[in-house]
């Protein structure tokens, strides 16, 4: 009956109830919706980075990360490859790479790029390139002169599939090495910057050009989940000599990504705070008004022998009903709106030029995190009840004599 009483009491002043309800609904909805968008952005930032050649873990020769020259390459990859095969979880994929800075040129243009020598079939399991070819074909494992370049570079160089492209770099002896390739395929990437930067050739072609014999620059590992990286990296570190090899996780390789995720955690927290303060004031004010309108009634309840604590409970039950109702609607609205855009995502191509700088995608897909939803509900519910405590205690303090004399 206390619940019945509370429920009916909140409908005594429909307009006021609707105001509080709207505040709670908007609060919960916006918390869920916005946090899912922010999570989506952060996720995509990290996924993009991971797919664009970073992977979850990279193994290099010690010193390569500071000075990425051919001298710092892994001379004999067989040892590392054996460890990887033995230690990595079965779902994990890995790919060796030769990676050097080079100058690409054709008859009219020339520009600095990164030449990446890959094992085409292994690479396809680790990075985006396997599925990114839009014109021509992908590399074959021993393609001696085939090269795959990005759409943006092709445009800039005013060239096309079938034309020649010369790469120039330094070999292991410090001599200038150059090789003429023929464009066999063009790829597209999430970002133009990626398309301009990376040119892919086969592993033997790169090794031959740079006089590397079997040497490689790095091994990239892709795991089933982002979260496994730290643990797997530690296992690898235990197996590989620290003098010779450096093992890094994506968090270390993409410091921006982890920083952005932390910043978003704060954004979400601050947004929760803002919503809550606005909502909290609304709830305190309206509940206080509702309480003062019913001074006589609380006096009557007290005269009938209701203890102050029961009156506190009674007022809190009214807030409870409002909060629960608002939360149910707010959560439903949150999930529905996230669901509605989860297929198509939110297209930011209009802003894409600016956003790209930050490594964001053109389309954002929201990502609901259980932790955020729980936080949103908990914040609204607990703090909602806490702020109702003040009016509730006020109501319980009216003395019956004064309250009954009140008109």
């Amino acid at each position: 009956m206390f619940f019945q009483l509370g429920w009916r009491n909140i409908w005594r002043n429909r307009r006021r109830t609707l105001v509080i309800l709207t505040a709670v609904v908007i609060g919960v909805w916006s918390m869920i919706f916005l946090s899912s968008l922010m999570r989506g952005v952060a996720d995509q930032f990290v996924s993009n980075g991971i797919k664009t050649l970073t992977g979850h873990i990279q193994v290099h020769h010690t010193g390569y990360r500071e000075d990425p020259v051919v001298e710092n390459s892994i001379k004999n990859p067989a040892g590392v490859e054996a460890v990887l095969t033995a230690v990595l979880p079965p779902e994990a994929q890995w790919a060796p790479r030769v990676r050097v800075n080079a100058v690409a040129s054709n008859a009219r243009h020339s520009t600095g790029i990164t030449m990446v020598g890959i094992d085409p079939s292994r690479e396809a399991g680790v990075s985006f390139i396997g599925e990114a070819i839009t014109e021509g074909r992908y590399l074959k494992s021993d393609d001696p002169y085939g090269i795959v370049v990005g759409k943006a570079l092709v445009k800039k160089f005013e060239t096309k599939v079938g034309r020649k492209l010369v790469l120039m770099s330094q070999d292991t002896e410090g001599e200038t090495a150059s090789r003429a390739f023929r464009i066999v395929g063009v790829y597209r990437a999430e970002m133009q910057a990626t398309e301009k930067q990376f040119a892919f050739v086969s592993m033997p072609a790169a090794q031959q050009m740079l006089n590397l014999s079997h040497g490689i620059s790095e091994v990239a590992v892709l795991l089933a989940e982002h979260g496994q990286a730290m643990q797997v990296a530690n296992t690898l570190r235990a197996e590989l000599s620290a003098d010779e090899y450096e093992v890094n996780t994506w968090q270390e390789l993409l410091p921006m990504g982890s920083a952005i995720m932390k910043i978003y955690d704060w954004f979400i927290f601050i947004w929760f705070l803002v919503v809550f303060i606005a909502m909290g004031f609304g709830i305190v004010n309206t509940t206080l008004m509702a309480v003062f309108e019913r001074v006589r009634e609380f006096g009557l309840l007290k005269a009938l022998g209701m203890k102050p604590w029961w009156i506190v409970k009674e007022v809190l039950i009214e807030s409870f009903c409002l909060l629960i109702l608002g939360m149910v609607i707010g959560n439903a609205a949150g999930f529905v709106s996230v669901l509605a855009i989860s297929r198509t995502g939110i297209d930011l191509s209009a802003l894409a030029a600016g956003m790209e700088y930050w490594g964001m995608s053109r389309v954002i897909y929201p990502h609901i995190l259980g932790q955020d939803v729980m936080m949103a509900n908990l914040v609204v519910f607990i703090l909602g009840l806490v702020v109702s405590l003040y009016p509730a205690i006020k109501a319980s303090r009216f003395t019956p004599v004064e309250a009954l004399a009140h008109t």
Binding site: L5, N9, A303, L304, W310, V401
Partner: protein, 229 residues
């Protein structure tokens, strides 16, 4: 046996610099089963006296005993407990909880007392039948006339068999005919259940129903007479 015993009760209200003596040494005893009216001009202290007997307010000095409980020595929460279990109240107006039906209003006190739901319901219906509201269990206060609302209040005040029922001008907002019929119901409940009723009034007609009439003036009892018939 005396169900209420007041000895030299005083009460002073202070408003800013003005000091009002609402009760100045009122002493009286009321026997169990009584049907007593407290009369007197406006400001004579009727409400103050009923509030003190009902444990809604403390006396400044003197002693008040209700059904063996010395109210003047009791804590706020002990008084709340006493009101819940031993005292029924009927006020001049706004007696009922607006969002509850007549039946629920009557049940409410028993809910607070912890009476099980089925028994609660049965007793509430029976008492509403007794006060002549048989068909109106589910009406909200706003759907009842003033007289009917006061009858629900009377039903609520006696449903848990209190030691005393205190009614402060229960008919003041009713026309004389409705007032008379409320008094008849109170009288009937008093006779049928043996519950002690103490009510205040200005109204000569209402006084006529009382078996004992106590006159107050300036916070003092100036006349106390037993009436017969």
């Amino acid at each position: 046996m005396d169900i209420v015993k007041c000895t030299k009760v005083t009460k002073t209200y202070r408003q800013d610099t003005v000091v009002v003596r609402a009760l100045s040494g009122a002493s009286l005893s009321i026997q169990e089963g009584g049907f007593v009216a407290i009369a007197g001009p406006s400001g004579s202290g009727k409400t103050t006296l009923l509030n003190i007997i009902g444990g809604l307010d403390y006396a400044d000095s003197g002693r008040v005993v209700v059904d063996g409980n010395v109210l003047t020595d009791m804590s706020q929460s002990a008084l709340a407990h006493l009101r819940l279990h031993k005292v029924g109240f009927v006020f001049q107006a706004y007696n009922l909880i607006p969002v509850l039906s007549a039946l629920e209003n009557v049940e409410f006190v028993m809910l607070l007392q912890g009476v099980p739901p089925a028994e609660r319901r049965e007793r509430a219906k029976a008492i509403l039948d007794d006060v002549g509201l048989g068909g109106m269990y589910d009406r909200r206060p706003a759907e009842l006339s003033g007289g009917q609302q006061q009858r629900v209040a009377v039903a609520r005040s006696i449903v848990s068999n209190p030691s005393i029922v205190l009614a402060d001008e229960p008919t003041a907002n009713l026309d004389s005919k409705t007032g008379a019929s409320l008094l008849e119901i109170m009288q009937e409940m008093n006779e049928k259940k043996g519950v002690t009723f103490i009510f205040s009034t200005h109204d000569k007609m209402v006084m006529d129903y009382a078996r004992r009439l106590i006159y107050l003036r300036d916070g003092r009892i100036v006349e106390d007479k037993i009436r017969n018939g």
